[in-house]
């Protein structure tokens, strides 16, 4: 019984009184540790993204439920009409819908960055003496994990529904790898918009305007040969088309080196152009 009383007494909320001695121990200047490496700092920011997932697991809804709905909806909506049966269609469609879903969730990078800036936490990060892009790179590292999770969820569902990739484990892994490379690169588009746009809503608006045409006007849903010429021209230069072709190739065991090369060039281009623009804005604010 007496134990209970003691515990209660100890837990009673006490008023904080700053004590000079306690503060003195933490204010004594220690030796400054060496500045962390670029990779070390980026990984630490990636760890922050992991912690946020731990505390706000709802955010994984976007990368699990959304792709599942996309796969089920389009497989059964178009399958019969376009390929005779949903199962037949899935062999063609699964890599495409995987790309569509993952590329669509890259926009959350921009939204997350915009929220961080609005809240003020980025001011703290920007006054730290660390490699400048680390906060953004770390953030995208965290997002890459979400991309992998989404891709795996879609693959799992596809396998259950009857998707049988002939490229085997290696082919499928290569396909997902290519998707992650492209999505990492493409995320820099959104860090840029996250920095220049006023609110979360406008980031979302711009993302939709870019992502819908980019994913739908491609080879994701149907063969481009059925489209009018002017549309085929756009579809042909669309990086999503190259990405889907490369992944379809890898997963079916019949790799497409030209599409793969284009996809890697596009990825390098996105990092170069939008990474530079992002860092310019990040430093100039």
């Amino acid at each position: 019984m007496s134990d209970t009383t003691t515990t209660t007494a100890e837990r009673a909320p006490s008023v904080y009184v700053p004590s000079a001695e306690a503060l003195a121990t933490v204010l004594a200047p220690g030796a400054r540790p060496p500045r962390p490496s670029a990779l070390g700092a980026s990984l630490t920011f990636g760890w922050r993204a992991m912690l946020k997932i731990k505390h706000v697991p709802e955010q994984l809804f976007d990368v699990t439920a959304f792709p599942i709905i996309m796969v089920l909806m389009f497989t059964y909506l178009f399958g019969g009409a376009l390929a005779g049966s949903p199962r037949e269609y899935l062999q063609f469609f699964l890599p495409g819908i995987m790309v569509t879903s993952v590329v669509m969730i890259t926009m959350y990078t921009g939204i997350g960055l915009n929220t961080d800036i609005e809240k003020g936490i980025f001011d703290r990060f920007r006054t730290l003496p660390v490699w400048r892009p680390a906060a953004l790179v770390g953030m995208i590292f965290g997002d890459v994990l979400r991309y992998i999770l989404a891709a795996v969820v879609i693959l799992g569902l596809g396998l259950v529904l009857g998707f049988r990739p002939e490229g085997g484990v290696v082919g499928v892994a290569t396909g997902i790898g290519l998707l992650v490379i492209f999505s990492f690169a493409f995320s820099w588009v959104w860090t840029f918009f996250g920095l220049i746009l006023r609110s979360e809503k406008s980031v979302m608006g711009v993302s939709m305007m870019v992502l819908f045409p980019l994913t739908f006007l491609s080879n994701v849903f149907v063969e481009p040969s059925t489209m009018p010429g002017w549309l085929q021209a756009f579809v042909k230069v669309n990086p999503v088309t190259q990405l889907v072709a490369a992944i379809r190739g890898a997963m079916s065991g019949d790799s497409d080196p030209s599409a793969t090369m284009w996809l890697l060039l596009w990825s390098a281009g996105f990092v170069l152009v939008f990474g530079t623009l992002t860092m310019y804005r990040y430093n100039r604010r």
Binding site: S14, V15, Y16, V17, P18, S19, A20, A22, L23, A24, T25, V26, L27, A28, P29, G30, A31, R32, P33, P34, R35, P36, A41, T44, F45, W47, R48, L51, K52, H55, V56, E118, K119, G120, I121, D123, R124, F125, R126, T127, L128, P129, V130, A134, I196, L197, R198, R284, R285
Partner: protein
């Protein structure tokens, strides 16, 4: 090893910065001696936050120059960053993370290895009375706890210069006192503190020197004593029972205090500054004399008070216009995009 620094912590000359049509800084000059608390006093929208953001390397000035411990804030931003730390007006820790996670994250970014970072975080949480809350998400903290974790995060690396942007705005009196105690402890260990505030008494309590900022300019600078004596150290407020006696009361007060008397919009109220430089008596003696003169003249006073000049009165005295608040950060966010 002591990092106590002598000389100037901050030297700024003619800093300007505009956001669209808003001129946030219109040529600020500052000289902040190292090892002291320096107060930037002014209403919302005066340019205090913009000045701090420029000095903390978050914002580039349009014109002018600033050096922190001799390093230029634009061309040597990285050197400045390694010696300063900022507690902004808005969230400067991640609200989704716990107290411990926030501090460990920042300690690791400052280069500590994981065990050392954990140790440092625990020591800081203990010193700031947050040990019990260490595993709680910061968004569940009270206002006072929030400010403490913000400040704890800023002294992880015991910076040479700490910027505190309105550290007590919105806090209850007890939390406010706690922050003041912390600021005193920080500066007694050799860290220079640049503090912005809207409250004269806060600047008075903490700062060795104060710059009064208005419309992006420093309009007065000095020790709290110098500033107060330049505008009078106190203000008497009177309310009469009979409005008809006000002209008489005004005359008596003017003679007793030898200062101009302001008539408020309220027909029974009068205000006068006391304790101006050049008078022999201190504010309370002057006020007492005024009160007895009024009684002798047969004027009935219902309410009498003597207080420190408010920021509004300081402004009125220095600029002939009252402190008009605008939201600076909104302007900045609008214009920066």
């Amino acid at each position: 090893m002591s990092r106590r620094t002598t000389g100037l912590a901050i030297e700024a000359e003619g800093l300007t910065r505009s956001f669209g049509d808003t001129r946030a800084l219109a040529g600020i000059d500052l000289q902040v001696p190292a090892g002291t608390v320096y107060g930037l006093l002014g209403p919302n929208g005066a340019g205090k936050t913009t000045a701090v953001r420029v000095l903390a390397t978050l914002l580039r000035p349009d014109g002018g120059s600033a050096r922190v411990f001799g390093h230029d804030v634009v061309t040597e931003a990285d050197k400045v960053r390694s010696r300063v730390s900022l507690t902004g007006q808005y969230a400067s820790v991640d609200e989704d993370l716990t107290g411990t996670e926030n501090l460990v994250l920042l300690a690791r970014l400052l280069g500590l290895r994981k065990p050392a970072a954990r140790e440092r975080a625990a020591a800081l949480l203990a010193a700031f009375g947050l040990t019990d809350a260490s595993d709680r998400q910061v968004k569940k903290y009270s206002g006072g706890m929030r400010r403490r974790i913000d400040i704890a995060a800023s002294i992880l690396n015991t910076p040479d210069l700490l910027f505190l942007d309105e550290p007590t705005t919105g806090l209850d009196p007890r939390s406010r006192n706690q922050v003041w105690e912390i600021v005193r402890a920080v500066v007694s260990h050799g860290t220079t503190v640049l503090l912005t505030t809207q409250y004269l008494d806060e600047a008075d309590q903490l700062a060795g020197r104060i710059a009064v900022v208005d419309h992006g300019r420093v309009i007065a600078e000095g020790t709290p004593g110098e500033l107060k004596s330049s505008i009078g150290s106190g203000t008497v407020h009177l309310r009469l029972r009979d409005p008809a006696q006000r002209p008489e009361a005004e005359r008596v007060l003017r003679e007793a205090l030898d200062v101009p008397v302001q008539l408020a919009a309220d027909p029974v109220a009068l205000t006068a500054r006391v304790g101006e430089a050049g008078t022999d008596l201190d504010a309370s003696a002057q006020a007492a004399r005024a009160l007895s003169d009024l009684a002798r003249a047969g004027i009935v006073v219902d309410n009498f008070s003597l207080g420190q000049p408010s920021l509004d009165e300081v402004f009125l005295a220095l600029t002939d216009h009252p402190a008009v608040p605008t939201d600076e950060r909104d302007d900045e966010l609008e214009a920066a995009r």
